[in-house]
Amino acid sequence: MSNNLFSTARRDFLRIGSLGALGLTLGHRSQIQAAHRQTRAKSCILIWLDGGPSHLETFDLKPDAPREVRGPFQSITTKTPGITISELLPRTAQLTNSLAIIRSVTSPLGEHGIANHYLLTGYKPSPAIDYPSLGSVTAHMRTDQQTLPRYIAIPEAKSTAGAGFLGTAYQPFTTGGDPAKPQFAVRDLDFYPGVDSARMDRRKSFLQQLDHFHKNSESDPTLAAAYRLATTPEAKSAFKISDEPDTIRQRYGSRTIGQSCLLARRLVERGVPFVMVQNTGWDTHDGLVLRLKEGYSGAKIGVGLIPTFDLAFAALIGDLKDRGLLDETLVIAMGEFGRTPKLNAVGGRDHWPRVFSVAMAGGGIRGGQVYGSSDRVGESPATDPVTPADLARTIYTLLGIDPSHELRTSDGRPIQVNQGGTVIQGLLA
């Protein structure tokens, strides 16, 4: 489309004067491209386990600890000799050769809001600076994807997973809805009922005509992007999980997290650099067996948080592997903190940031390993402590984003993509 309305704005490069943080765009592009050449991962899927998943019931069980620590579940051996994980993760256990389990993540922040800010941005929250999330920074730095949004959240995103000072253009595109529902469709992506593609074409031609009458009007890159997305069936089809064969859909499980992971796979397959799957409910202050295993009381087959996660996570990694996409897709499963070593009076565990676990696979990660360890009762890191800033720096590095690249706040203040973190070399393939 050569029309003004649908072309890219060049005005940023043409502005007069020197007020504000102008003139930065050009220099940075080459840096990004330079970094890009070393990219290991083209995309990242972050499975955000919101609320703080218990490390002691998932990836860091303590079978030898006292009863009040041990918890209700047993550990099982995995495909990788020497690595054991929860009995509720049998499918994941078959894929540990692709998996790096970090058991020594540590943070001082034990309240949900500030903790998920730290994990999702790599920065502790500051009253002065509204830091951008991993996904928003990736969207800002990776300009290769043209039609689909560069940061997509399924189905919603926390405000701490937002663009911060980078501004609305880098907010996650949220799908809304529930991918597990038969009628699932992304909001406003499809034509309004009664508007077919013939009418949409007519509308476009009218709109172009109106623009033509005003040769001088500013082009609007976002409108063009929205139009391109809404009218590019191939791009839109990325969101159509109903196109997947039943066998694949079943592989991921019928629950929201499974179908969300399937949607995430479809998106990275089409070149979306950052997808966040948000899975809620992990703030398990009581009833670990009910919440984590059963899902509803008296369930014969557990459909609680861990089994549904296991199904989805294993399916995602297996499916990516089958398609030859795992090497270029970084998959991360994490939440904002772990849970208290001691069970509380109502059979739950409370917030515990001092040590917790994160699982990573694909995209330049060396699988078949446990990195770091917690102490005997899962209370503190015992070896190789990892901070959320270290995690963020490692993720950016794997995605080919220079962690010391300087972003600019709206008032021109330079902020590095990551500060205070160290790349965890041991994780890298």
């Binding site: 007069i16 009007s217 992007a225």
Partner: protein, 711 residues
């Protein structure tokens, strides 16, 4: 070691030379050593100027506190940083000239003037004068300058005058920086700056506690522009025309009456004009019709409604959890103040000092919603001073003069408040200054400490709203300017500081002065701007001003708030948007609860008022655009059987009549001949499904930038 010996020998030599070449006499720590530390980057925020210092050595940020720095350099670790017996072993020299390992590497090269001066200072006893000379004037060259062509090199010079002694050339000890290094290139060896790009460039000079901005301009065009016949309505035009002259920037022509009416109606009332009003205005042949229109709008009910909404956004009024009454009362109070034309200084004073039952006393909600003292200090500084004091919570402001003492001092002003449903003063409560670990002393930022025995809120508020406060009037007129002109004279509008100078400093001063000497009337400033010639220019650019974004040579189109956009779509289509459980007919700009569930407002980017929305644009972002393209906000309304379009079709109106009606409602103008011809031809081609084609026409009209933007 031979190497060390030879280095030491060189040192002695340099020392000798320095004694010979420098003026004999004591080196003054405050005015001669401190600038070296600043110029060499030692006290930068990323180095020893960080709140925690670096490597065990901590300096005040950008040399804000010479006494503390003297203590740190000379007294602490006695004999290590400054070694009077063996001068060259002083760490302050040996670490910075490369002799000893230094994480920050060489900062003050051996043989440099800086090194000579430091050496001499130590040799003469490393003293600090009990009564240091005080900087009274900093004379800079160039001052405001216009140069003819790109490539010109301008010499730099800085001369300091002190309260006693002779003037001193401090060019070498001044920190020169440029805002845009690709436009101005500094050469510190030859003390000059080269201009590489046309336009207005900013050079900043920092010496001791002074920061001054110097404008250097290369006209944008070779040809002078003749502006002698350019109309002027008031002093705004005088200042704007002066800047065009300087830049040789030709202004676009005036916009037509229809464009002006739509523009000013949106800006002053958040409401599109009706077709009747458009016709009436276009037919009006009397002189001063634009002026009369502005008066009419400013005294309308819609003005009060819209500016209540705008002030509520500025003050971030939102309901407390489970208590919507306070926010409602607060809105009503704002409304009453606007209606009765209360001076803005009085409005602000009452907001800053009100106490009592927040369900009865509107302004008391300002303190209640602030949550705590620090939050209130930040809100007050943003809203009424236009400054970002929040940086100074953890460290002195890196770009400005605000210190942690200022931040925590202002927080202390608001510390003794109980912020429940009933806001009341208490006798306890305080704020700890993390710099000292002591209770913060109530303080007017950048000015003075307050007597803790008095009611410091009243004292602060009297100062804040008085002419002594250099920020209050400027911050408000700058905001008002942005509302109408699309960009703050200082931009962002909440970031007034010496290092972020106004594009038109004199205009900002004159507007502020006019505001404060004429009773702080928002309407007066709005009228000055809305009736200025600068405001009436067309958005269409002409050769020579196309690239201008900051000198107002053409009107800058801008997005309108989510609430105004939703109301505008209802206005055009004749179908109201459902706004939570509010009565039908309620407008989005009338909502007193920003959490009222309206998906369209969220998708279009309403200000949630949790944080300042000063820099945000509504209607931006992919979800917003997709919603306008495919969502119900437009589609449902254009296809509604009870909507305007379907009713006009039922009434038997012709295509041309329908097109004209919607052009008037949506764009505030009649279609041009060309447009009429196009629509007649295009719409008549579709015999069947006429309504659908008309719906598509209306859809495209509501998605054009001409509708979505104020232009």
């Amino acid at each position: 070691m031979p190497v060390a010996n030879s280095t030491r020998f060189t040192f002695v030599l340099i020392g000798l030379i320095s004694v010979l070449s420098s003026p004999v006499g004591a080196v003054d720590f405050d005015t001669e050593i401190m600038p070296i530390l600043t110029r060499s980057g030692c006290n930068a925020g990323s180095c020893h100027g960080a709140a925690a210092g670096r490597g065990g050595f901590k300096l005040s940020l950008l040399g804000g506190d010479p006494a503390a720095d003297y203590e740190e350099i000379v007294i602490a670790r006695k004999g290590r940083r400054v070694n009077l017996a063996r001068v060259s072993e002083s760490l302050i020299l040996a670490k910075t000239n490369g002799e000893y390992a230094h994480e920050g590497r060489v900062r003050i090269p051996p043989g440099s003037e800086s090194e000579k001066r430091m050496t001499q200072w130590i040799k003469t006893g490393a003293n600090r004068s009990g009564k240091p000379r005080i900087l009274t004037h900093l004379e800079l060259q160039p001052t405001e300058t216009i140069v003819e062509s790109v490539g010109t090199r301008i010499p730099l010079k800085a001369v300091a005058r002190f309260d006693h002694g002779d003037p001193v050339d401090v060019t070498d000890w001044t920190v020169w920086t440029v805002e845009d290094p690709s436009s101005l290139v500094l050469d510190l060896n030859s003390h000059s700056v080269e201009i590489r790009r046309r336009g207005q460039q900013i050079l900043l000079a920092r010496y001791l506690d002074r920061v001054q901005a110097i404008r250097i301009t290369v006209p944008l065009n070779d040809q002078r522009v003749d502006l002698s016949k350019q109309p002027r309505a008031n002093f705004i035009d005088d200042e704007i025309i002066t800047s065009w002259n300087r830049l040789r920037l030709p202004p676009s022509p005036r916009c037509d009456d229809a464009t002006y009416l739509r523009r000013v109606a949106l800006d002053l009332t958040g409401t599109l004009p009706t077709p009747e009003r458009i016709e009436q205005f276009q037919k009006d042949q009397r002189p001063f019709k634009r002026e009369r229109l502005v008066d009419e709008l400013l005294s309308s009910e819609q003005f009060t409604t819209y500016f209540t909404y705008r002030l509520a956004t500025l003050l971030r009024i939102r309901p407390q959890p489970n208590d919507a009454i306070g926010a409602k009362i607060f809105h009503e109070w704002i409304r009453d103040q606007l209606k009765s034309k209360r001076p803005f200084d009085q409005i602000a004073f009452e907001l800053l000092t009100a106490t009592g039952d927040t369900h009865k006393i509107g302004p008391a909600n300002f303190s209640r919603q602030s949550g705590d003292a620090r939050n209130q200090a930040e809100r007050v500084s943003l809203a009424f001073l236009g400054i970002r004091l929040q940086c100074a919570n953890c460290h002195n402001h890196p770009l400005d003069r605000w210190t942690q003492d200022d931040y925590h001092g202002l927080a202390a002003v608001f510390a003794r408040l109980d912020r429940g449903t009933i806001v009341r003063t208490t006798t306890r409560g305080g704020v700890t200054n993390p710099r000292t670990g002591e209770p913060a002393v109530p303080r007017i930022p950048g000015s003075k400490y307050l007597d803790e025995q008095s009611d410091t809120r009243v004292e602060f508020s009297l100062w804040a709203t008085s002419p002594e406060n250099p920020f209050f009037a400027k911050a408000m007129v700058n905001r008002i300017w942005k509302m109408l002109m699309g960009r703050g004279l200082v931009d962002p509008v909440d970031d007034l500081r010496d290092t972020n100078p106004a594009t038109h400093p004199k205009l900002l001063d004159r507007l502020a002065n006019d505001f404060s000497t004429n009773g702080f009337q928002i309407r007066r400033t709005l009228k000055l701007i809305a009736t200025s010639e600068a405001y009436t220019l067309s958005t269409k650019t002409i050769p020579g001003n196309r690239a201008d974004r900051i000198f107002y040579s053409h009107f800058i189109p801008r997005s309108i708030e989510a609430e105004v956009l939703v109301d505008a779509i209802s206005h055009v289509t004749g179908v109201d948007e459902r706004l939570g459980s509010t009565p039908p007919g309620t407008r989005a700009i009338e909502l007193t609860d920003v959490a009222t569930p309206v998906p369209a407002l969220d998708l279009l980017g309403r200000c949630a008022r949790a944080a300042s929305c000063d820099g945000d644009d509504a209607g931006e972002g992919l979800p917003a655009k997709l919603h306008l393209l495919n969502g119900p906000i437009i589609n449902q309304k254009i296809s509604s059987p009870k909507g305007r379009l379907h009713l006009l079709v039922q009434e038997g109106k012709t295509n041309q009549e329908i097109v004209t009606e919607f052009y008037l409602r949506a764009l505030g103008r009649s279609p041009t001949k060309e447009e009429t011809a196009y629509w007649n031809k295009t719409l008549d081609q579709h015999g069947d499904g006429r309504t659908e084609v008309l719906e598509d026409f209306l859809w495209s009209l509501l998605n054009t930038p001409e509708f979505i933007m104020n232009r």
